[in-house]
Amino acid sequence: MNTLDEQLAHRLHDIVDGEPDSVPPTGALLERGRRARRRRTTTMVSATCALLALGAATAATVATMPTPGRSGVTAEGTPPARPASPAMELVSAVTASENISYRMRLTNSGPDGLRYEGAFDPTTATGYVRVALDDSIMTELLIAGTRYEGGERPHGPLPSDKGPGETYGRYGQHPGTYDRLSLYADGSNVLGAAAPDPAALFAALKSANATITENPDGTLHFEYATSAEKGSTTTRGDVTLDGDGRIAKVAITGTWQTTAKGRLDKGTFASTLELFDYGVEVKVNRPTDVVMVR
């Protein structure tokens, strides 16, 4: 070989081909990936889970102290009762917000904060949510229980390193049926704060033991902490109700820390979930370019 061009490929292979194979850290990758996905999509999920935890905690309160003519929390859409405590006021609001359609908006703070917008009708299992990223508008559709996920072309120009390889407007159809939007989060998480799911409420009760108080301005305040093997999260939130006693806004702040990378990483998050236009008609058209998700 006489030229550098000819030698280079061989020399590059010499550098690395003798390296021993290693085992990929799949467990750590899954853990980091789940956490990253949660941070990215999900401060919304945090907001929703917080709300569910509250609903669960307060539901338990009510379940053990049934009011006359009512046996604990139901999804009957009963009118909001006059609550006797912050906890009962909240469970009343959760109950009033169930079984009715709504629009939602979630805004995450920070330079990389995302804004999710959508609508959901729990009675027809139909809704959508989308979030604008730099290379696509990530979209989830739920039509009578059938879930589709895909990306639409962004409104602005694409970054120079993005675009090729993307197929905009193509949706993956998930097998099975669903009663709520997932928003790319773990299947155990719930987008719709008003989704009637007692099982989820009580599962959340086990994982987050929230305390609920009332702020001087009449809004409700909650706090809870969760921990895992390599990290922990503390969440605080304020809940504002609308004139019908339904949940209008949940403002969340929190701190997290993790040692998953072998060092101590810390951070904060803040997000605001708004639910409005209760009773809105939610219609979603099936996408035309659909492939089945295996």
């Binding site: 061009d5 590059l12 290693s22 990758l29 090729p164």
Partner: protein
């Protein structure tokens, strides 16, 4: 409940299957880009985490490995830029790992390779190690074919110059 105790979903199972193949396939590319195994594993892990975030959508792509390769190269280039901004020194080459069992020629080439700017190094590695065409390299880097040609020419010129120096001399 910790995530580690959670049973794997179908999507997670397919992701793990992809990782097991992708890890062996791309770790060496990452080593050529970063200069050592520790950084290579960190870079590959960071890229695979980004893939996980979008797995449900990405898993429908025809060539996931091409996507990962692009993520790997772009993550490395942006990390390298960030480190440059944070450094008080104008031009700090990536750290080169100890020679280990490498032959003298491989050590020489690796030293020279690590002296290249990140993008030129990426062009050289993609073109000459991954054996991509200029058009494919351009697609990975999100630049024009002309840029790939010029970056490759500059990189080879610099490598040729370095390898002609007595301290770098290749055995022929």
């Amino acid at each position: 409940m910790t995530d580690q105790t959670k049973p794997l979903s179908t999507a997670d199972e397919s992701y793990v299957a992809f990782v097991e193949v992708a890890w062996q396939r791309h770790i060496r590319l990452a080593m050529l880009l970063t200069g050592d195994r520790w950084r290579a594993e960190e870079l590959l892990q960071d890229s695979l985490v980004k893939v996980y975030e979008r797995w449900r959508r990405l898993s429908r792509l025809d060539d996931l490995h091409a996507y990962l390769r692009r993520a790997l190269v772009n993550n490395h280039t942006s990390n390298w830029r960030r480190r440059r901004r944070e450094s008080l020194v104008a031009d700090v080459p990536d750290r080169v790992a100890p020679a280990g069992d490498l032959g003298p020629d491989a050590v020489v080439v690796r030293r020279a390779l690590m002296s290249l700017p990140a993008k030129q190094r990426a062009v050289v590695v993609l073109r000459h190690y991954e054996d991509l065409t200029e058009r494919e390299v351009a697609r990975v880097l999100g630049c024009s074919v002309g840029t790939v040609k010029s970056q490759n020419a500059r990189a080879l010129d610099k490598l040729r110059h370095l390898l002609d120096e007595p301290s770098y001399t290749l055995s022929r």
